[in-house]
Symmetry: C2
Subunit: 593 residues, 2 copies
């Protein structure tokens, strides 16, 4: 089916069901960032891959809203279709709801699947549409009937993770969680986001390629804990272990009826952005507690075992990247052909050699030249291009290991860089250094830290439209909360949090620059003004100096860069052969004014 045919059958479905507009997201029952193929409705309809994007269709028009990471990919995907791109990160662009209000009239009906939209989004949409006398039908799934070859629900086996890797047993985590629930007055708590269950029960799933989060729920009260998952996903050992830790196991589909049966006085916590609209309804007769996602909060603060393992894996990960770079330069110098795809395969091989490797932590972004400006570019046979000794190459990649998760972005010049490329790169690097060296009080907010990172490039009228960084899971999702660095995030940092810092500058059709390190929030000092935090750097991978123009740096930035690259040589050399070390030392040579 072409996109035009899909739109035609969607519109026929809409007419049959008296629906004037349909909202088609990529969204699953947990508001997960990544979904199993069954829930990739927007991708199926529009062709746009990636974690962000929603299609909206009326009888006359169709639009796709996505954030700046996917602007160029969306342009490519939508070329030749009637679907219009709405650049949702840009100032002044209509939101989906504003657009619907301008396209529809009073009495019209908008349809979206209440099973796959978070309560947070659904309730906000419903009340905003109501202002214009537009109602929402959340009972039907607009694509289910017309998506004839829709994939089934996945059924991947769970892998248990040993306590020496997690640093905390399920029993201890359950105890901590119940203590926090009691403090917050919560009697029953639905862990709606799937990685919360991963963390609590110490397992990895295989429902999705490259994602350890299987479809499941956990419901916890003071004296009961229920793990909702299809039994086919559990080994006998897993069943024994979860049961021994105090969990009852029930089917994934049973969660709604268990919520429905709760007494109406039950003080229930369901987090609206992690619970779908229909499931939320199932528990909404209870006394609903407005609270944070308690399991996400506990999970966000890493314990010492998790940190020790992460430190170790990050050095091995850095060495793998150096091995890859050395291979690539050797191939090119020997006149052999390298493409984005062959580079991607080689990088995977280098990571696979690391003990504990499970899978990539996300699809590697191998962005040569203009592809580097596509924030979440994913190379395939169609998009693959040859890499030569010219232009800029952005590589953003990471691994999911038994003992940690990595996420690193580096940019290298393949030939002689232009002055604009050097200025852009140096400003990005300066932004990274400003935040990675920041000292901040314990109640500093993520938005304040985000501003600190962006200032150096703002002064030169450059910017990036994505977040400055995100929380990182321990062997779990590469993007996790509660913290992330953006101007809208008023979360604070806690000691033990694991995050990325990744400023960038993108020139559409030309190149992309991003430098990304992982950092750990640690105590810096107790002072008369209170406690101060700083970041411990975790990423050891050369920061290229050929792209640096030190005229754009202060002495403190140059000092940081030279010190950083010296540490990279020191940490990685023991893991590399002589030729690789020699390349590394040259790549990490000190720079001056």
């Amino acid at each position: 089916m072409t996109t035009a045919e899909k739109l035609a059958s969607l519109r026929a479905w809409m007419e049959k069901n008296s629906v004037n507009a349909a909202i088609i997201p990529n969204a699953d029952p947990h508001n997960n960032e990544y979904q199993a193929p069954r829930w990739l409705s927007r991708q199926w309809l529009s062709g746009l891959k990636g974690s962000n994007g929603t299609v909206v269709v009326t009888a006359e028009k169709a639009g796709l809203w996505t954030d700046s990471r996917y602007y160029e990919a969306a342009e490519e995907a939508l070329a030749g279709s009637e679907i219009k791109l709405f650049r949702a990160s840009d100032p002044g662009v209509d939101s989906i709801i504003d657009w619907l209000k301008s396209e529809l009239k009073a009495g019209d009906v908008v349809s979206f699947s209440g099973n796959d939209i978070s309560e947070a989004d659904a309730s906000s949409w419903v009340s905003s549409l109501k202002v214009a006398d537009i109602s929402a039908n959340t009972e039907l799934d607009p694509v289910d009937e017309i998506w004839t070859d829709r994939p089934a629900e996945p059924c991947g086996k769970l892998d248990l993770v040993a306590e020496e890797l997690t640093g905390q047993s399920t029993e201890e985590k359950l105890k901590d969680l119940r203590a926090l629930m009691q403090k917050k007055g919560v009697q029953v708590y639905l862990l709606g986001r799937t990685d919360e269950s991963n963390w609590l029960l110490n397992f990895r799933g295989t429902d999705m390629e490259n994602h350890p989060t299987p479809y499941c729920y956990t419901l916890v009260s003071a004296d009961e804990a229920i793990f909702f998952i299809d039994e086919g996903k559990l080994s006998d050992e897993a069943k024994r272990k979860f049961t021994a830790a105090g969990f009852t196991i029930r089917g994934y589909g049973e969660v709604a009826s268990v919520l429905e049966e709760l007494d109406k006085d039950t003080r229930l916590l369901m987090v609206p952005r992690y619970t779908n609209h229909n499931l939320y309804k199932a528990g909404s007769h209870c006394f609903l507690i407005k609270e944070r996602a308690l399991a996400t909060d506990l999970k966000g603060v890493k314990n010492e075992v998790e940190m020790e393992n992460t430190r170790k894996v990050m050095i091995e990960d850095g060495a793998a990247m150096v091995r890859f770079y050395f291979w690539m330069y050797s191939e090119l110098q020997a006149g052999r052909k390298v493409t984005e795809l062959s580079a991607s395969k080689k990088l995977l091989e280098c990571r696979q050699a690391i003990s504990g490797f499970r899978h990539v932590s996300f699809d590697s972004i191998m962005g040569y030249k203009a592809h580097g400006a596509l924030n979440h570019y994913s190379v395939d046979e169609n998009s693959d291009v040859e890499v030569t000794l010219d232009g800029i190459f952005l590589i953003d990649s990471g691994g999911n290991f038994e003992n940690g998760t990595s996420d690193t972005t580096r940019v290298i010049p393949m030939g002689t860089p232009t002055q604009e490329q050097k200025i852009d790169y140096t400003l990005v690097l300066k932004c990274l250094i400003e935040l990675i060296t920041a000292e901040f009080p314990e109640d500093a907010t993520c938005a304040q830290l985000d501003g600190i990172c962006r200032r150096p490039m703002w002064q030169h009228h450059r910017l990036y439209r994505h977040g400055t960084g995100h929380g990182v899971g321990y062997g779990l999702e590469v993007h996790e909360g509660p913290q992330n660095f953006s101007g809208l995030t008023t979360e604070r940092m806690y000691e033990g949090m694991l995050s990325t810092i990744e400023p960038g500058i993108y020139r559409s059709g030309e190149y992309g620059i991003r430098i990304e390190n992982m950092v750990h929030t640690v105590k810096s000092a107790d002072t008369p003004f209170g406690k101060f935090f700083k970041f411990e750097n975790l990423t050891f991978c050369p920061i290229n100096v050929d792209l640096v123009d030190t005229a754009y740096m202060d002495d403190c930035h140059i000092e940081w860069l030279n010190d950083y690259n010296a540490q990279v040589v020191e940490k990685l050399s023991p893991l590399l052969n002589e030729d690789e070390v020699s390349w590394l030392k040259h790549e990490c040579r000190p720079v001056g004014k």
Copy 2:
């Protein structure tokens, strides 16, 4: 009555009314920052003056919650009383509700006056208490019966403001407001904050000393506009003018019944933080629209007439401050006695000489030595101290004029400063410069800008626990929204906004340092990355250089300082006499490394 006696009669009232705890704020029906004496309940009960602070009383205990600006003043006010101070700006301090939940038991009742608490606070309190099975009684006013000499409601006359001063007529403003209401789907809009009525109807009130906001409401729909105010406050001319502009005039007390009579399908906007709990209930049968405070948004963006007038008045205001400084140094050098109070009187005289002066824009903060560390110190006969040629003197003051509002803070060394004082001062100055010279994209948030300001002192483990700045009214309140600079503020900036930047460092018992300028948000550039803004500086008043240690500044900061002080000399000299100019030139001499 002593505080102990007041607490005793409050507890007797509580027992009689079966109430287990009472919350006593300084709060009026509009959630105004400043209140007429009738609503200064917390001040009456605890003795603490100032704009922030709430007392909570149970049968056994009493506590006062206030923000960092008032810590020291609260300590003084509470000395010898049983009321315990809760430092609400500090991390980890129990909120009022958390404390009540720990002190009370299930089934208990908390009383606070629903007339004087915003719907935003009241609804959050009610639902948080409900979690612990504690109910709220919002019908009674805990102090009304026991406060036997409670002041009456004020009845100050309104003064009309001419259109050549406001730049926009009431008719035009009403048209803009109605257009915005229509765009947002609002049929009826209650302007709950009093300065929104000031702005719309172009007047100043005299209900409160030093505040132009009288007790009134305005209700606007597409074909009706009602101004609720006690008729005794209106001259015949005012009545004629408001009527001609399309307003019906009704009594202040009638607003609730007009809301009650609205049809239930009415799309009504009441802003929960600007509408009290009981009034909100009066309109809550309608279809409530969740929207921003539309009049506050329109008011926040100044027009060209307002800006031209503000620029002019700020230069006159700066000259008045220089005249004051010159007088003070002359007095001291001649061996005459100067105290905080006499200095305050002299500064007022200097401002009163400016054409269009109405009153101070807030109680001047004349903080000599340790008083400078009291963020909102207000000098009176009891606290007054002599100012000598020693220590640090912080002066934060401003005027409310027909043609603008000023708010400036400067710090001067009266003797030879210590190295710690110089470092603190230089870091504060560096923070100011970092933000005042910032370039930022149009969707930058206030929290990002706040982080940019704070970084220089965070690097040296210093901080301030107040906001970095606030919006400033045009001849209206010195603190106004929607913008303010704090880590929790995700508001963005608009071209034409008027704000302060005022970082500080406070050493309890020793001294306070704060430097505050007013700034105007203007366009900096249209770039391939979008529109960038910057700040136009509006304050011209010497920044003392004796306290500067240039070792703590980069070249760009030194350059900014020298350029700034040169501008101060250039702008103010024409308004000063020869001796004053000579003092000014010395005060503004350039510094180097």
